[in-house]
Symmetry: C2
Subunit: 452 residues, 2 copies
Amino acid sequence: MASLSSFLLLLILLFAITLASSAASVKSYFPGIFQSSLKKNGKNLKPKIPYEAHYFPQNLDHFTFQPKSYKIFYQKYLLNSQYWHKGAPIFVYTGNEGDIDWFAANTGFLLDIAPKFHALLVFIEVSQILALKPLSIAWSYWFYGESKPFGKNSYKSAKTLGYLNSQQALADFAVLIRSLKQNLSSETSPVVVFGGSYGGMLAAWFRLKYPHTAIGALASSAPILQFDGITPWSSFYDAVSQDFKDASLNCYEVIKSSWTELESISKEGLAELSRDFRACKKVSSIYSARDWLWEAFVYTAMMNYPTESNFMKPLPAYPVKEMCKIIDESSPGASKLSRVFEAASLYYNYSQAEKCFELEDETDDHGLSGWNWQACTEMVMPMTVSNKSMFPPSSFSYKEFADDCMKNYGVRPRQHWITTEFGGKNIEQVLKRFGSNIIFSSGLQDPWSRGR
Amino acid sequence: MASLSSFLLLLILLFAITLASSAASVKSYFPGIFQSSLKKNGKNLKPKIPYEAHYFPQNLDHFTFQPKSYKIFYQKYLLNSQYWHKGAPIFVYTGNEGDIDWFAANTGFLLDIAPKFHALLVFIEVSQILALKPLSIAWSYWFYGESKPFGKNSYKSAKTLGYLNSQQALADFAVLIRSLKQNLSSETSPVVVFGGSYGGMLAAWFRLKYPHTAIGALASSAPILQFDGITPWSSFYDAVSQDFKDASLNCYEVIKSSWTELESISKEGLAELSRDFRACKKVSSIYSARDWLWEAFVYTAMMNYPTESNFMKPLPAYPVKEMCKIIDESSPGASKLSRVFEAASLYYNYSQAEKCFELEDETDDHGLSGWNWQACTEMVMPMTVSNKSMFPPSSFSYKEFADDCMKNYGVRPRQHWITTEFGGKNIEQVLKRFGSNIIFSSGLQDPWSRGR
């Protein structure tokens, strides 16, 4: 990964996460689709990375001044100073909705360019404390990240989750960067922020809100226009479908018509379906298979790189084309469902290591489930499936979504908040008048490219 | 008040408030000086203004998403639509640390220019709820403003005051403006924000943080550089003193040396001092007299307009010159203290309506005391008195200040927060690269002019 383009392509896939977890909260509109998403790595989760972990004492809440706002949590960040010359630039990766080690391990671009700029590299985890520990214990628990002190229920309480949002994350970055520069006596070092997917939105917004701190931002695959009706709600799934259509019209049509085959399976047929799908355990619903297929197509579209990659799963170069080849070249007598199963197996088992598939596994290996909370509060990104798509049609209702959020978290989404806080409408005009040094990049095949 | 310059001059004086109330929290460094500040209008506080009052349901906390963050308070704003054509600009006055009616009554500039632009005029009170009332009761209680449900103790609790800060105020503006434009079907109307003193800082920061909402800002007498050591701590009192020196060197010297005369008065001399100062009630300390004099010189410097004015108090044109004339022309045998008393009387009694002076009155007629809280949390503006000044020398210690804040409010100031959140260091460079359409204006005699 020595080139900018490979970095950008890599970042594109980071947004996989966003989709997986946000859709979980609109499950009633995409029934069950993402229940099993992003959770089946099951391998060693601690990648070896050339960074040193640090923990920064951060105020819990930057925007109120109650005594409890002053509680300290320890924000994890990673440092690489092997190329660093004092006074040289500081490149800050603004973290995503998951474990920062994982993103650092999959972001080679900063390491590639660090020697040229003698840059200090900093990866900051987006994190807010759940359990507040005294300063002397240099360890903590994050909303996003490796530790979840309250287990699966960590994400259930709006009281603790209330601080997990983009504005607090940006302020965390600003406070940490200021302190770091002061400690390094490098106040004049220019800071450039880098991010992809949700972290790309944070990078762009950081440059917009803290231009005195960052002189530029590279925001990759950052769909800052996916809010409040700016981008059509169907754009994401239209784009995924277009990727498959571009690879092969037949492939697109087989996938599109496979869903009715799946839906015709009765309760009695679940045992056979489980065998056909090589499920490790018998599935309890056809929707488990549907989720599993859906996820394979969506993530493969998001990771449709011209090179082999290994972020969510190991994948070949041009995986969409490879999937379609499987569908197009299968025996003419095979059912559509068996053909899409074989195609999806490419996503789940390119490494050939899987003996069976966990279709109903809900393990969250990358600490991602906080996103459901964010989707139910500020990050309201409505999605529908139009009839141009290869997925089964689906609509979106703010009211139903809000009711669901109320049920799950006790709060309602603030539908207009992101555009009120960060803008988005007429963004070209706004940025032309006021703004500079923000690169929005993503490949045109990236399903998120339509929202930025 | 038909000209821009008179508007600007007028706005300069708005910052009177900032000083008065912020200094109260550094009382140990300016002993007792501002105890009695800004409180002696005592007249009818409801000015007649050509605006209609409205109340906007606002979320209590924009930056957390706990159930209580969603509590509604009613933010007061004033509207004048008599010149308004749909689609024409919207001029928004971003309120100050006091009752919005009072600021509207003293800001004629917007009314002067509204006909030319067919502009809608909106004055928004900076407010956060203390007591949360159901939506049906279109009335509420603000941090700043006319109502104080808990009386003098409203400002004592960090729990309720925690939401009173500049970031929440800016977000309030953004949410209110978005909703107002939508309700008026005038989404394309350009918004320009106007403000003076603390409200001027808010106007500038609003343009910086919400460029998608406001296309420009007129920030008058807005000392956004008065933080974190950017401007020398002694600058404010140096500037006040320079104003008097410019009017008359003798005047400056008489005031400078009057303090030792005052301090030589023993407890037994307080009765005579009270008579000499025409106090309505016998003063309990020489510091009451000192506060009273100090306030007169500071506010007169801030309101040193070339025209008569009546914001804090009725004053003649060029009041500093008038004060110095009193000192310079007093009989040679008069004591320095009696000469500065006569000068200060110009400030307190230009209208000749006062039979005696309330030297120890602590009534807060303009709803200003929330500022003490802000000074103890985010708005940390250290001030010292240097020996170039005509005031008695005074130093500043962050530690002592923080200890005082802890004692009074249970929280410590976030010393670097304002510059972290809004910048300030190297501001020219930052604004050159990223920023536009912000006019920072103030007269050079404005004591706040050195901090912007």
